[in-house]
């Protein structure tokens, strides 16, 4: 085949969703196998290596993100039904949730506040621009929600999506080590802290530890989404941090 022929095929492929969708699944497949092969080394978290592989490929082939996302959006879309699906593990932990509703509520409101304010305060302290600070503020809630909040408070939604993913990975990687440090062994406590801090990526990690930790992480993730959406814009305005 001539170079010209390949170029023509490439031009066609880069305009269809097929390429973006396929490379997302292939990159994740490779990343996941590498993660298992390394004995679940946290530095090889599948999201990190899949994102790295994809960016190298896109930059190498000079493909813009928008062209990639035409296919990637089909995977991204499944975040919606996956969020709804969290109701099932949650329901299975209902008796435990009934007993723990008050501690959960107190932890939720304080955890959400500490998470948002500590990120904005640290970013301010180290000289981030206001737009970056606001993009960081909702970093602990799941991507679609965080992007909506970011837009509302003057951040950049697409930058927020990246901060959300980075926070999720950090939480998933550091969480179990921090709990060991604090000598916390109760899966309901670990799950709540994981869900408040590291949303869906942390919840995915929590399900690997135990179904109970996963369910509590899913519960905390869902409730903190509500809490953050309701209190964060108001809190930042009250503190005069919106600029």
């Amino acid at each position: 085949m001539t170079d010209d022929g390949i170029a023509t095929i490439w031009v066609y492929l880069s305009t269809t969703p097929l390429l973006g969708l396929t490379i997302t699944l292939v990159a994740y497949g490779i990343a996941y196998r590498a993660y298992l092969w390394s004995g679940s080394n946290p530095l090889l978290h599948p999201v990190v290596s899949a994102v790295t592989l994809l960016i190298l490929f896109l930059v190498g082939t000079d493909t813009p993100y928008e062209a990639y996302f035409a296919g990637g959006q089909f995977v991204h879309f499944l975040l919606g039904p996956a969020t709804v699906a969290l109701a099932i593990p949650l329901y299975q932990q209902l008796p435990k949730i009934r007993r723990l509703w008050l501690p959960v509520l107190i932890t939720l409101v304080s955890g959400v506040t500490i998470g948002a304010l500590s990120s904005v305060a640290l970013a301010r302290l180290f000289g981030a621009t206001l737009q970056t600070q606001m993009s960081l503020a909702p970093k602990s809630v799941t991507a679609p929600v965080a992007m909506g909040i970011s837009e509302q408070i003057g951040g950049l939604p697409s930058l927020t999506a990246v901060m959300v993913v980075a926070t999720g990975i950090l939480g998933a990687v550091l969480g179990t080590r921090l709990f060991a440090l604090l000598r916390i062994r109760d899966d309901s406590i670990k799950g709540i802290a994981m869900g408040i801090t590291a949303h869906g990526i942390g919840t995915a990690r929590a399900f690997q530890v135990s179904p109970e930790m996963g369910a509590f992480s899913g519960l905390a993730m869902a409730l903190s989404t509500f809490t953050t959406a309701l209190i964060l814009p108001w809190l930042l305005q009250w503190l005069g941090w919106l600029g």
Binding site: P46, G72, P144, A229
Partner: protein, 122 residues
């Protein structure tokens, strides 16, 4: 068929959630409203249909995959991230550690206070 029925139900709940959130003008995303509605439905029905278990197992089994396209979005923010790498790195790392530790300690303290006998450790 199980998977298809399950995913259909999830999408219906998501759609109702989106619709309800917009109709009532609440600043919470549709899927989260859908999740709460499904949770309440399960409590009322007192059981989980096998189709829902199949579909949720499939989606939640590889939840990490679903974050990959958003993560690739980093490539359009290279310049900003390179220019502000220090505050971004400090804020992400510091805030993640602070939030994780604070939430775990508050949860441990409050559950000891309000739900004694529930903890398995210490």
């Amino acid at each position: 068929m199980q998977f298809l029925n399950g995913i259909t139900l999830l999408l219906i709940f998501q759609l109702i959630g989106e619709f309800g959130a917009r109709l009532l003008d609440i600043p919470v995303p549709g899927p989260v409203v859908g999740m709460l509605l499904l949770f309440l439905t399960l409590i009322a029905r007192r059981s989980v249909a096998p189709s829902l278990e199949t579909a949720s197992g499939a989606l939640l089994g590889h939840l990490s995959l679903l974050f990959v396209p958003a993560g690739v979005g980093m490539m359009i923010h290279f310049e900003r991230i390179a220019g502000e790498w220090l505050p971004i790195a400090v804020a992400l790392l510091g805030s993640t550690v602070i939030t994780m530790l604070a939430s775990a300690l508050i949860m441990a303290g409050t559950s000891r206070l309000f739900a004694p006998g529930d903890r398995q450790d210490d």
